[in-house]
Symmetry: C2
Subunit: 436 residues, 2 copies
């Protein structure tokens, strides 16, 4: 049996009891014959407590020192986890991101991994140890300073180590049972997805599903590392994210063939995601000539705002003017509006409209590109539920619409049902937040 | 002006307010033109909290992982301190023990410093930064594992860095005003010592004075680094510990000459220390022949017990038997007694006596070796106070006696007074505990 990388989020190691429970699970995997490398986040809310302390001593948390501070959280959880494993009779060693060879660029607070040199980790597991690695952190190649990886950093650490160590699988343990066909807090009949492709998972992640972040899935796809997202609180199988459904690859035993059929169904539509964290900006009365859109988005980019959907309506022939709409995180709304206002003279638009009462609903599935009825069914479902569509944007495997925020739950349920994603049983599903 | 190393203990940085106060003091030193390197301990009780967490997940805290855990405490305090300094407009960078070049052996939880390679620290201060270094920690030369230095580790880090950086002085900031002629909690009239030699300070430290630990003073003496122990809560001068009284070296200005006379007085006796943490073991009826004492202390050493005083009485000629007494930390008493009991057959003593109701009182001062009256005055003072002496042990610059624990306060006051150490004024002195 090969090497597995397991990642445990902050909610899984929130206290001593959680650490002991996780330790037991890790030791079990080791006893089944795997080499085990574990990536761990900081305990529960401990990172927030450090951030609070920082804000007490300094109005602006500096990049380098803020990273030095935050990485203390993983240091505590990883050392405690190693001690808990040793208390169960197995050998364990903990390593900082720097010791584990997580080499990053020098952008503090959101560094990118540029290389992984896991020599010490490989030696440690070869000697029979379980290696525990601090998530979320690395060391910069140039300055040798401690860096943190920003949002989703621990998941990305796990996938990066799995790639560098040629692991069989990267198991992401969290406080939910896996990836669902919709947010179970909104759609009670949402089903856990057994398998989903990297591509569909990427679209779900960028459409509001919070279980895995886009960055981590992208890394796994590039190095073809299967991810198994599952709960650290139950023994259940979770959701596999990989190139090919492993149940099909495994063969055709009775039970598996049945699961195979189920996954044939899933191949059409993976799930419905929604996102209420965005706002919509409409630039009204833009001259419909080359370079206008570029000028607008150059202004936005220069103000360091990331945008999501972009939609341009056809221009009214009579005026030669068009409207350009885009969505962006609500938190960046003010910045974008100010930047556009300052540039009104150069761009030459008529006015700006800002709307933060919107929701985005996305349908994701590789099957839709060969199935022309999907778009019609999607819009029919929304229409029957009385939901008006304000913007539409599509990729090959995703359709997203923007609608009113107060209609989002109803809209998601209607779409989920229209595509036959509702589970037959009334089985309750457990759903919570997600760690970093 | 040259480089100064400042060390702040946990009580000085116990909370955000403390960190900001310390930051201000550091920035002031920088503004006076010094290059400043700061060594900092973990905040207040945070180390104890980590130890509690460890005991919740593991019955035995393993060396390597326990060190990894504990070093998180300094990581938090040093990053916060750097941020607080930057908030005051000065530049600061924090460094772990490993980054600062504190190279140790591989004995986890009580590693010894074997080399200091402060290249990064030197570069940082040369670029105009205040460098903040985590106390108490290093990295092992062989395994590159994180180590901690054990008791007094942060003070020793500061002195070691001061030596490697050729600092003018190592300032140890604590919650007391300096080293006193006796513990001010016992002797209200105890005086702060302005200057004390390394040798006298070493004797005081090993006789129960807790302001500086023996290890740190020994390191400073070896590399001739002046230590200035002072309060982080006041602006007062504290106690200088060095080879030569700096006030004499500086010349003969009016005020200084007066202080010079005062220090002439101090040259006789530096202070009175006491220690109630020890117990006394007496091995009764040991055959008075070569090799017996060696056999006893070999047994003790093999059980990893450190002993302090050793006294052998003359043997009674009639029996050819003698008694050997020694003192040791109370916490090691059981271990020593079991080891001796197991060896009774080989050693051939009659019986063991164990007494943990003792106190050790020590008089320290380089002047005593040329002043034959000191011993007599010491014993007279004890006798007049009704204190019986059970053991006596002397060095060239120290006399220690063991007496009943319940008499210790009275004994210390009597001796302090007999040697004219009482302060003339009724000035209150502040005294508290000490950090690690």
């Amino acid at each position: 049996m090969g090497l597995v990388v397991q990642k445990y989020g902050g909610s899984s190691v929130a206290d001593a009891a959680g650490i002991k429970r996780v330790a037991k699970r890790i030791v079990d995997a080791r006893k089944r014959g795997h080499q085990v490398v574990v990536v761990v986040s900081a305990m529960g809310d401990s990172t927030d407590e450090l951030i609070d302390l920082a804000s007490e001593v300094s109005p602006v948390a500096s990049g380098r020192e803020f990273d030095m501070l935050l990485t203390a959280g993983e240091r505590i959880s990883m050392a405690l986890l190693a001690m808990a494993i040793k208390a169960l009779g197995s050998e364990a060693q903990s390593f900082t991101g720097s010791q584990a060879g997580l080499i990053t660029d020098s952008v503090h607070n959101k560094a990118r991994i540029i290389d992984v040199t896991p020599g010490r980790i490989q030696s440690s597991v070869d000697e029979g140890n379980i290696a525990i690695v601090a998530g979320f952190q690395g060391v910069s190649q140039d300055s040798k300073d401690i860096t943190t990886l920003g949002r989703g950093g621990s998941d990305t650490t796990a996938v990066a180590l799995a790639a560098a160590l040629d692991a069989e699988v990267c198991e992401i343990y969290t406080d939910v049972d896996g990836v669902f066909t919709a947010d179970p807090r909104v759609v009670q009949s949402a089903r856990k997805i057994d398998w989903i492709s990297f591509e569909d998972m990427l679209e779900l992640a960028s459409s509001g599903s919070k279980v895995l972040l886009h960055r981590c899935v992208e890394y796994a796809r590039r190095y073809n590392i299967p991810i198994h997202v599952r709960s650290s609180f139950s023994g259940l199988e979770g959701t596999w994210v990989s190139n090919e459904d492993p149940r099909r690859a495994r063969g055709s035993a009775g039970e598996k063939s049945q699961q195979g059929e189920q996954s044939m169904e899933q191949a059409l539509i993976s799930g419905v995601a929604h996102d209420t964290s965005e706002a919509k900006v409409t630039v009204v009365g833009v001259p419909d000539k080359p370079g206008e859109a570029a000028a607008i988005f150059r202004v936005i980019a220069d103000s360091q705002v990331n945008i999501d959907m972009v939609v341009q309506n056809v221009s009214a022939a009579s005026t030669g003017l068009t409207d350009i709409s885009f969505t962006l995180p609500k938190s960046e709304g003010k910045k974008a509006i100010s930047a556009l206002e300052r540039a009104q003279g150069t761009i030459g638009y008529e006015s700006l409209r800002y709307d933060d009462q919107i929701a985005k609903i996305s349908l994701v599935g590789a099957g839709m590109k060969t199935n022309p009825g999907v778009t019609a069914t999607f819009f029919d479902a929304l229409s029957n539920a009385g939901v008006n569509i304000e913007l539409i944007s599509t990729s090959e495997i995703r359709i997203s619409v923007v609608t009113r925020e107060e209609l989002v739950d109803e809209a998601v349920r209607a779409v989920h049902s229209a595509f036959g994603l509702d589970s037959a049983s009334d089985e309750a599903v457990v759903y919570g937040g997600t760690g970093r």
